[in-house]
């Protein structure tokens, strides 16, 4: 049995109340959204907050709005609702595909986009019971001083395992944060750091309020995920691609691969290669090769790292096949 440790629970009913609670409780508190990541980690002693501040009753954070220029998603919107939202499906398919593949169906009904953005990094040496971790002498991420993935490594390389992250990065999303110190906005690209112990630029008392995604005509995007069990699992690897077309030609290109290390990896060389070209089988092959060269999975997640690396080519190819020019611009 895996019981939860002792904590105090707070359930503010407005954003203002939540912010003042975080100001009062400081780093003794953690925010909780759906709880599907935080609670198991608390059971394993990976995080040990004295207080949990639940955002469930903060209704102003719920829902998807859109106009001609942006989709704005409240941080507490459930993953299941984003995956089937018509505006997200039309203008940001990579995000619909990513949110539709997080965990299993029950998790997507509990979990939220804000929660997935702020998911803790994962590693085979950390997502274990306290007993297991203690037997190994702990690790850099929590309670220990050594890394079991990179021998003599001084930096935690636990993997960013949020499926929404690569999708939001390629889509150029912006993330609104609110804290006792006021509002600020981070681009999805600046949201993550290379430190696996805590890979977010967000301070712990900052609340993700909204995620804003630009809408562009002639933009296509796609997301692909590798996991042990197709129906329910964290990613062993994931990949998002976004292309802005000018007629049949690629005008802008972005590719992000994640579940490698703490920060989702933008494959810049792929953009240099793709821009100005028309999609073709040869280009797909080249892009898959570039991704393969630039991304090196570590032994921080389940399954063979070499196999995961080989699968990068496959994910990139599958994503590109679905990112062909929109019908309207094919005609021009």
């Amino acid at each position: 049995m895996l019981p939860l440790p002792v904590f105090q629970h707070h359930s503010p009913s407005s954003l203002a109340e939540a912010v003042s609670l975080m100001a009062e409780l400081g780093d003794r508190a953690r925010l909780i959204a759906g709880g599907t990541d935080l609670l198991p980690n608390m059971k394993h002693g990976i995080v040990e907050p004295e207080h949990l501040v639940s955002l469930r009753a903060v209704t102003e954070l719920n829902g998807v709005q859109h106009d001609d220029a942006h989709i704005v998603i409240g941080a507490m919107t459930r993953l299941v609702d984003i995956a089937k939202h018509p505006a997200v499906l039309e203008h940001a398919p990579a995000l619909a595909e990513a949110t539709g593949q997080v965990g299993g169906p029950h998790h997507r009904r509990m979990g939220t986009l804000g929660g997935n953005l702020c998911l803790d990094t994962r590693c085979v040496y950390i997502n274990q019971t306290y007993f297991w971790r203690e037997a190994l002498g702990f690790c850099l991420k929590k309670d220990g001083t050594v890394c079991h993935v990179v021998k003599s490594g001084k930096k935690c390389v636990a993997a960013a395992s949020n499926d929404s992250a690569p999708a939001l990065m390629v889509l150029g999303a912006e993330i609104d944060l609110l804290s006792p110190r006021g509002k600020r906005t981070l681009s999805a690209n600046d949201f993550y750091t290379t430190d696996g112990i805590y890979n977010q630029s967000r301070k712990l008392d900052e609340i993700v309020t909204h995620i804003r995604i630009p809408i562009l005509a002639d933009r296509v995007s796609a997301f692909e995920k590798l996991r042990r069990r197709g129906a329910i699992d964290y990613p062993l690897l994931n990949c998002a691609i976004r292309i802005d077309y000018k007629g049949p030609q690629i005008d802008e290109f972005d590719m992000v691969v994640s579940a490698l290390a703490a920060r989702p990896k933008r494959v810049k060389a792929a953009a240099r290669l793709a821009i100005g070209k028309k999609p073709s089988d040869a280009l797909t092959k080249q892009l898959a090769e570039v991704a393969f060269k630039n991304c090196k999975p570590l032994t921080n997640l389940d399954n063979d790292a070499d196999w995961r690396r080989d699968m990068i080519r496959v994910l990139v190819r599958k994503a590109l096949e679905r990112a062909r020019p929109p019908v309207a611009s094919q005609a021009t």
Binding site: M1, F7, G35, T36, L52, H106, H107, M110, A231
Partner: protein, 160 residues
């Protein structure tokens, strides 16, 4: 912490520290031992209950999150001794084997049948994807849910 719940149609009030898991309140204080603890970390789905009409893993919900919410467990499906068509079909078509996953399967399937009148096999498989059956009798479970959907349609339409 005082928590008010609507469990299987009955109002229940429990006095509990907030970190107690919903699963433990159901199985302990409320004596509803249908939902089981399998893995305790949200992977296996045998603790699935309906929270405000949606299937969730009861081992991943702290009771502090539940005030004022509606919960339906596997005990809440049947009316007295009368099994629902879904339960009867699981029994008749071999959908219940060793029985460990059954309470979670029934809740996930019930949630599906409430929103989909005529689910495809694909939809059924997706709906119970969070419920692991180690007897691996998935085919029987899919058949049982299909039969239950047919039985429900017949019930709502009346005899032809």
């Amino acid at each position: 912490m005082r928590v008010e719940l609507l469990v299987n149609g009955q109002e229940r009030v429990v006095e509990m520290p907030p970190m107690v898991r919903l699963l433990d309140v159901l199985r302990g204080q409320l004596g509803l031992i249908g939902a089981k603890e399998g893995c305790g970390e949200g992977e296996c789905g045998t603790c699935t209950v309906m929270l405000d009409g949606e299937p969730v893993n009861a081992c991943l919900v702290a009771i502090g999150q539940c005030n004022g919410r509606e919960i339906i467990t596997v005990e809440g499906l049947a009316e007295g001794e009368h099994l629902t068509p879904l339960q009867q079909c699981m029994a008749d078509h071999g959908g219940a084997q060793c029985g460990i996953c059954t309470p979670g399967m029934l809740i996930a399937a019930e949630a599906l049948l409430r929103r989909e009148r005529s689910p495809s096999d694909e939809q059924i498989r997706a709906a119970v994807a969070g419920n692991i059956c180690r007897c691996t009798g998935y085919q029987r479970i899919v058949i049982s849910i299909q039969e239950a959907a047919a039985a429900r349609r017949e019930q709502s339409e009346g005899p032809r």
